[in-house]
Symmetry: C2
Subunit: 455 residues, 2 copies
């Protein structure tokens, strides 16, 4: 019985034109990163299960693809664990490895493992696929490419400026205009919450605040009240929302608010430095915006947070994000490594470019010349000329068999080949060939001796 | 407790210089393939388990990495199967997907699935990692890159010539000389065996013959006798071994031997065509050689077989192989698709190049200019000039903090940065800067207005 050919749910085949577009996007990312002093690193597709367990939370643990142990090890399956509903224990008895879930944890592992070979501050980029056992849906895949750039080993705020400029430069090169970089600082949120509550409630607070864009002010307020947050917090949020489009007024307001909050004032002055320095060299097409409501789910940011909004007309939403972190490698026993990292949402940036028609049209490299095949003895002569063209770096092909001319020309058309050379036994006797231009349809006879000069 | 950072056995991290070298090799492969009319295709990292089961043989089935089902599906584990020693059944109850084991099967699946979108003859190349649960050892990894180029949809022998020329061209571009392409034809072997035995014994026969290079003539003969092959076969092999370096004499001998074997004579004439046509355009550095003992393990070749020997001095052995096949897609219900395919042993070619020093030395793109950091107000001026250089596509960096000059210069050295700009508050007052050449150590003062012109 024949197997119906299909890919697993949530995965994709990439045709030649897909690959060409993906490689174009990748090459611009790569070259820009390298202009900014970032060097590439690649890590294995799978890591030890222990490296990927417990770092992405409960939900993440479920979404990490585990690899089944092979050979005799399968017999070590802990059947009792399964019977007792201890799924985790059962899984550990069957699996020692898991597929990369993001680039952050493998990178942290890389830095800790290779710390003695690296020059700090270390600037690396990494563009590799990751895998998640997410329920597949439109635009969400189980295999997709991630792209991260990080600078680790220094607390210098110039690095925040660098990664924001990096965003600006990449999007400018990709010709994506109207990008908004929204930034905030973890300690702005911490200072706000500390005005009325214990700072530890920051996670609860930001969890609600993060929904601002999705559910709107009223719902956010309702949730905050339900969660028993101090009502004065709402007054402050109300005021901040009023000032949302006015950066200077917001800063003024925060300064008065944080009169007694050291961390709040420091966070403000960091943001001011970042804004001022960003202006030194940003393009016109990218806007840097302060957004006090930006929190991003991840709890590991300790300083600036950034989120990239795609052009509004594309309706694609966030196409990147990142921030400052202080504890990247501590789980691997390497303490106090501060860094700042940003990721580029490769798959979504691809969608934006596709939607806006920003991929160049000539990405698939077409063969330049097709030699028509008029049977073996003529084909042999044709092939000897084909070799001469190839030596001149002109790409060409001989049609494989002596088929009807129409069929051979149709092949040229479907492969985008613009020039066709006809060299049958008559032409060869005359030491000549015909050159057909596929766009105009014109066909011209030339002496064979001219063939290599024509291209 | 900190986790000791390490990768799973049989996998590798790639540093920036590794990635640069791997990308260089990849880019030459890609550009040559595209010159020859091959277009890229990519398939998902995992396939449905059924697609990868039963096609690689008993051993292959064991080496395919299976992915554990996630979530609640884990409870469908067939515990009885495990208890009864039915490991396969147990695995199927736990896994629906498996990691790509080679590029051939996913490509066959791709052709069958997308047949209506493709132009035949279809030339594709594919460079992607594959995974095998092999016992890791020196030079053998569980994750490694494969690289295949195939032409499917025609029986034309010109395609055999094309893929051999492709080998020649790729190795010439990589500057690997002294390559030997050994070729044979499946039906030469079939015709030899048919002289004395049932043709079905060809697999047994080639299994022994394949060991020729490893164990030598005497051991091969012993095995053939043990396996009860006709003694006259040994006389023929003896004669062929005598003629091994003399292509013309071998062909003459075969012609007399195959007087009554239609398939034998056809195979000979195919090989003669391939040899003659290959000569039309091969370089001097690659030798095409007939090797009647070449069989290659895989049973699916139906015509020409080829194996690529690396330069003898490297002692690395085969760095590629392939051949003509007739049934690529039949398992997916698409019959009679003939094709010819070759693979390039990416990891081994890498080793050859590394050993022979063939990687260019300037592959890591170094930043051109480092701005020394003399504290925030001077750094701000420096950064504004850095932006100007970047606008001129000069890659540069500002050292992140005001560290000791020696430390900043050491950073430049370790990142291969050749020019360092010193711009402290004194220089800025004088509207000047110092330019230090890291190779010569020379330091020269220039007016600030000249800065962008100097690069």
């Amino acid at each position: 019985m024949a197997i119906k050919p299909s890919t697993p749910k949530g995965t994709r085949d990439f045709s030649s034109s897909d690959v060409a577009k993906r490689n174009y996007l990748k090459s611009i990312l790569q070259s820009t990163f390298e202009e900014y002093g970032f060097n590439p690193v690649e890590t294995p597709s799978f890591e030890k299960l222990e490296t990927l367990t417990g770092v992405y939370g409960e939900e993440g643990d479920r979404l990490v693809f585990k690899i089944l142990n092979s050979g005799e090890k399968i017999n070590k399956a802990d059947l009792d664990a399964l019977k007792n509903g201890e799924n985790k224990k059962f899984i550990i008895s069957l699996s020692e490895k898991a597929l990369r879930y993001d680039l952050t944890v493998p990178f942290a592992r890389y830095v800790a493992q290779h710390q003695n070979e690296l020059t700090f501050p270390f600037r690396r980029y990494q563009i590799q696929p990751v895998w998640r056992a997410d329920r597949p849906q439109r635009g969400r895949y189980q295999e997709f490419v991630q792209c991260d750039a990080d600078i680790v080993g220094t607390r210098s705020l110039w690095q925040e400026v660098e990664v924001l400029h990096l965003y600006d430069r990449v999007f400018k090169k990709l010709k994506i205009n109207d990008i908004i970089l929204r930034i905030n600082h973890r300690n702005i949120l911490a200072a706000i919450i500390s005005l009325f509550e214990d700072e530890s409630r920051i996670y609860d607070f930001t969890l609600v605040l993060d929904k601002f864009d999705k559910i709107g002010k009223n719902e956010v307020f309702k949730e905050l009240i339900n969660k028993d947050f101090n009502i004065k917090l709402l007054d402050i949020l109300e005021k901040l929302i009023d000032l949302k489009e006015n950066y200077k007024e917001q800063i003024k307001y925060f300064k008065s608010l944080f009169k007694k909050s050291q961390i709040g004032l420091e966070a403000l002055s960091e943001l001011e430095f970042i804004f001022d320095s960003f202006k030194l060299g940003s393009s016109d097409s990218t806007v840097l915006k302060f957004d006090f409501s930006l929190a991003r789910g991840l709890s590991y940011y300790t300083g600036m947070i950034v989120e990239v909004d795609s052009p509004r007309k594309t309706n694609i939403g966030s196409i990147g994000g990142g921030g400052r972190y202080d504890n990247l490698t501590s789980v691997f026993g390497m303490k106090n490594i501060s860094g700042v990292g940003v990721s580029f949402g490769f798959e979504r940036i691809y969608l934006v470019m596709d939607q806006l028609g920003l991929f160049p049209s000539n990405l698939i490299s077409s063969i330049k010349v097709l030699f028509v095949n008029f049977g073996d003895s003529a084909a042999e002569v044709a092939y000897s000329y084909l070799i001469k063209l190839r030596d001149k770096k002109i790409s060409c092909e001989l049609y494989p068999i002596e088929a009807k001319l129409n069929k051979q020309l149709a092949y040229a058309n479907s492969k985008g080949i613009k020039k066709v050379i006809l060299m049958g036994s008559n032409e060869i006797k005359e030491k000549a060939f015909e050159l057909k231009d596929m766009d105009s349809g014109n066909q011209t006879k030339y002496p064979l001796s001219k063939l290599t000069d024509l291209f």
